[in-house]
């Protein structure tokens, strides 16, 4: 408990887009409850704070830390370790922190390829082919920028995580619900869920919340959404040949995308107990292909031009393989 008696709250933004932060603000007036019940001690996007201030805090002095973003460089890693050490409850907040998300797609490439894209790309003017140097000697001494790691890791691959809150970003109503829960716990009106639990989401998958009609499935052709003249507003997208991640994706979002005729892309991650999101989707989709002939099957699969990208868009770093071979073989140099 702190001086003003309020429990301390922290939020940090590692390798991610910042959408999670916006999502938190999207809870509107609920944010006032946060302010009313918590003392925000560290939230770079919302208030000024220095790492050294955090380092100075006593261990476990922060009650709740919402950590969004993956671990891509030394700085992310340092803060992850630091906040773990200072916090009682560390929540992997949002898809990046829980399973890697879009930044995690970089795990398909090795550092050179990434640098190539970033520093030498068509849109980049870099005649001298300058690449970052982590230590740079100047008369005043050595300049240092955080080292870039060969692959992105999820928060729980770096430190011990108490809860997971999926979503890219987590739906605001779910955030609000979680905050309510924490407040209830503070007032002794509720119990904390068991360690390692996924909070702010459902136990089933998106289809559970999806209003579309569905039947026995048997797929003869995969099409991409722009290849369909007219999407049946009533019918399950997968049954229309559109690769929809709904069946494998944890519920909680309210099936918003399929609701408006856009296929689910899986930002809420795997359902309870699933250890490899992509594999589940892969096996499900393949199982309902309506052919027993290898060539015909391959022909049908032509309709999924980028399986790895479609199945692991959000979960690559948290998949069984975690990264494509180039990422680690490159690390070997």
């Amino acid at each position: 408990m702190s001086d003003n008696g309020k429990p301390k709250f922290a939020m940090y933004w590692a390798a991610s887009c910042g959408g999670c932060e916006i999502a938190v603000l999207n809870i509107n007036e609920k944010i006032l409850d946060v302010d009313a019940n918590f003392e925000v001690v560290f939230w770079p996007v919302a208030m000024d704070a220095k790492y050294k201030d955090v380092e100075a805090m006593p261990d476990k002095s922060i009650l709740l830390t919402l950590f969004n973003g993956g671990i891509r460089n030394e700085e992310n890693e340092h803060l992850a370790i630091l906040l773990r050490q200072k916090s009682q409850i560390l929540v992997a907040f949002g898809s990046c922190a829980t399973e890697g998300c879009i930044p995690g797609l970089a795990n398909f490439s090795n550092t050179d390829q990434i640098y190539e894209a970033v520093y030498e790309g068509v849109s980049t003017d870099n005649p001298n082919h300058i690449r970052p140097q982590y230590n740079y000697e100047v008369p005043e001494g050595t300049l240092h920028i955080p080292a870039f790691y060969p692959a992105l890791r999820t928060l729980d691959q770096v430190v011990d995580v108490d809860y997971y809150m999926p979503g890219c970003p987590p739906e605001s109503h779910q955030i609000a619900a979680v905050i309510d829960l924490v407040l209830k716990v503070l007032n002794g009106e509720a119990e904390l869920p068991p360690k390692g639990a996924v909070i702010g989401a459902g136990n089933s998958t998106v289809c559970d919340e999806c209003g579309r009609k569905r039947h026995v499935k048997s797929i003869t052709k995969f099409v991409r959404i722009h290849e369909v003249d007219e999407i049946d507003p009533e019918l399950c997208l997968l049954e229309q040949g559109i690769l929809c991640n709904g069946p494998a994706t944890r519920s909680g979002c309210g099936a918003r995308c399929p609701g408006v005729g856009a296929a689910c892309i899986g930002c809420y991650g795997p359902a309870e107990g699933v250890i490899d999101y992509g594999a589940r989707l892969m096996t499900a989709v393949a199982s309902v292909i309506d052919s027993n002939d290898p060539d015909e099957i391959d022909a049908i699969l032509e309709g999924i031009p980028d399986p790895a990208g479609s199945f692991y868009r959000f979960s690559m770093p948290h998949s069984l393989l975690r990264m494509a071979k180039p990422a680690w073989s490159n690390g070997n140099r």
């Binding site: 261990d59 890693e77 370790i81 630091l82 773990r84 050490q85 398909f108 890791r153 691959q157 770096v158 430190v159 011990d160 250890i275 490899d276 992509g278 594999a279 589940r280 892969m282 096996t283 989709v285 393949a286 199982s287 292909i289 052919s291 027993n292 290898p294 099957i297 391959d298 699969l301 999924i304 980028d306 399986p307 790895a308 990208g309 199945f311 998949s319 069984l320 393989l321 975690r322 990264m323 494509a324 071979k325 180039p326 680690w328 073989s329």
Partner: protein
Amino acid sequence: MSEQFEPVIIGFTCNWCSYRAADMAGTARIKYPPNIRLVRLMCSGRLDPTFVLKALSEGADGVLITGCHPGECHYLEQNYKALRRYRLLLKTIAQMGIEPERVKLVWASAAEGVQLARAITTFVEEIRALGPLRWPLRLAEMDIKETAAVEEVVA
């Protein structure tokens, strides 16, 4: 220690055909290299791509999937489901920089002990030629390093 690379291979077998074929290979004392370790499933249709990825992520250099010949499935048609998943799995792992040749599907009936042994021998050689995959194991090690770091900080 011999110089040549000894691949480690996980084989998935169907309880009704290929597992019995393995039994038969044994009973007939047909020899094949010890590089393969078999896992029994009730049917190749039970094969979840997760199992294959698990094997690879745990360091296997190759995975052999076996099932009843098309049309001879003990459960009538489930081996076809295995086939469908297999085709998609190959496509996917190729994108992850894994040679698709490392995951192979062969059919073997309960009577085909010889054929199974031959298939295993061939596959071991194919993987030997491809060289080690040994999917990081090492990735796990990275984590150990980090959690160690946590201890430091705490200390």
